[in-house]
Point group: C2
Chain length 222, copies 2
DNA sequence: TCAAAAGTGTTGTGTGTACACCCATGT
DNA sequence: ACATGGGTGTACACACAACACTTTTGA
């Protein structure tokens, strides 16, 4: 039997883009302008072009929506239930991205459709099976933060130890002991104190830290 | 633009089926009977039917090749480089399966093409990018054994502590301390000693262990 | 002066690792 | 008798968790 005889599913990529804004974990969603699920919020994504790699498709979507390039991006999972899209068989390869909010140039104003950041744990109803995909991504995010240091990608270039701890507390939804947390983070040897401190804060200023060079490889230990 | 205008990639599943035979980690390969890569060994797999889920496609392939149903099966990764198949754009969702060799009814004899178990670390050249996929699977396998207990799926119903240790030593390619290993395994509380012992062995007989009931949930802790 | 986050050490508990000898059986 | 894997306990190092008070700033 010739392979061309098989009817082919459509193939898309969807991206779960996380960032931290105002000490809250946010995810980027797009309001659909077309049926099906017109008017519902959905993960950004689109069809994979016939001659581009899956990762490039994801990067392309990412750039289109946020304007950022240098982000942490990894394949998450492939969802392919036959009825997940009412129109036709669609298989989607999901990617998840971590970006720090300073790098973002959202372009919601310039476009007809709405693009917005939502609290990752309190999104509206999502189109397709995107709720399930988001939950899967949140699970992976927790896992990644527990066993790797990729979470640091969510931070700006200069940050305080308090900001890291906040980040972890948001994502794990629990408190950590300040002394133990700082000890642990510093013992990793990935960051170093700069000579600067926070300014205009209504409390004791905090030392600003930055990543040591060559974080790239170390970050991907798993 | 209508979605039907996009040329669609073909979608397949490939399965990395691991088992342990004679204290060696084995992977199931099939010799290709058609071009491209005719005569080369490859991972079992095939096209996803338009109305079946990805996991069902993987299960179908698994049953077709090995006759087994009750196995550990999980999605591994999706490979989609544009040129990975010389004929056309093919995206493959890989799955990896752990089965214990007692359950297998290989059907290589009845088929025209060859099916065989190979040492997972010493396979011949593989078709397509299957070498890369296999290496990815081996990496995941190590990881799974380190952080979960799914590796026990590779064992028969009754087994000795030495067999578990062998399994781990094969996969990690290093030796473990016998006392520490046994302590660790027993402390998990997942297995219990049966009243039986091994027979006809040229050394002191070993106690046979079996899984406690309700292993199902515990096994999937991550 | 008050609120709010920054900053700082010690102690106990549990987990992983290193290590050596006798036992039961088949040949 | 000997070869082979089965079976067992202790001691040290290290990572993690619990815990409270002083400091510096803006309002």
């Amino acid at each position: 039997m010739d392979i061309k005889e098989y009817p082919k599913p459509a193939v898309t990529v969807d991206i779960i883009i996380f960032t931290v804004i105002n000490n809250n974990l946010k995810v980027l969603l797009i309001k659909r302008g077309l049926e099906p699920f017109k008017g519902k919020w959905a993960l950004p994504g689109g069809f994979v072009r016939i001659d581009e790699s899956l990762e490039n498709a994801a990067k392309r979507e990412l750039v289109e929506e946020t304007g950022v390039k240098d982000v942490y991006l990894e394949q998450l999972y492939t969802f392919g239930e036959p009825k997940r899209d009412p129109r036709m068989r669609v298989i989607t390869i999901s990617y998840f991205a971590l970006i720090n909010s300073k790098n973002i140039e959202l372009k919601p104003q310039t476009d007809a459709y709405d693009v917005n950041w939502f609290d990752a744990y309190e999104t509206p109803d999502l189109a397709f099976d995107h709720k399930k995909i988001l939950e899967y991504a949140l699970q992976r995010l927790k896992w990644k933060l527990e066993y790797t240091t990729v979470g640091f990608k969510l931070l700006p270039k200069r940050f305080t130890l308090g900001q890291i701890q906040n980040l972890y507390e948001i994502i794990f939804n629990r408190r950590f002991d300040k002394r133990n947390f700082r000890k642990k983070v510093l013992s990793l040897g990935l960051i170093e104190k700069t000579s600067e401190k926070t300014k205009n804060v209504a409390h004791r200023p905090a030392a600003l830290y930055s990543f040591k060079k060559k974080m790239g490889e170390i970050i991907e230990i798993i």
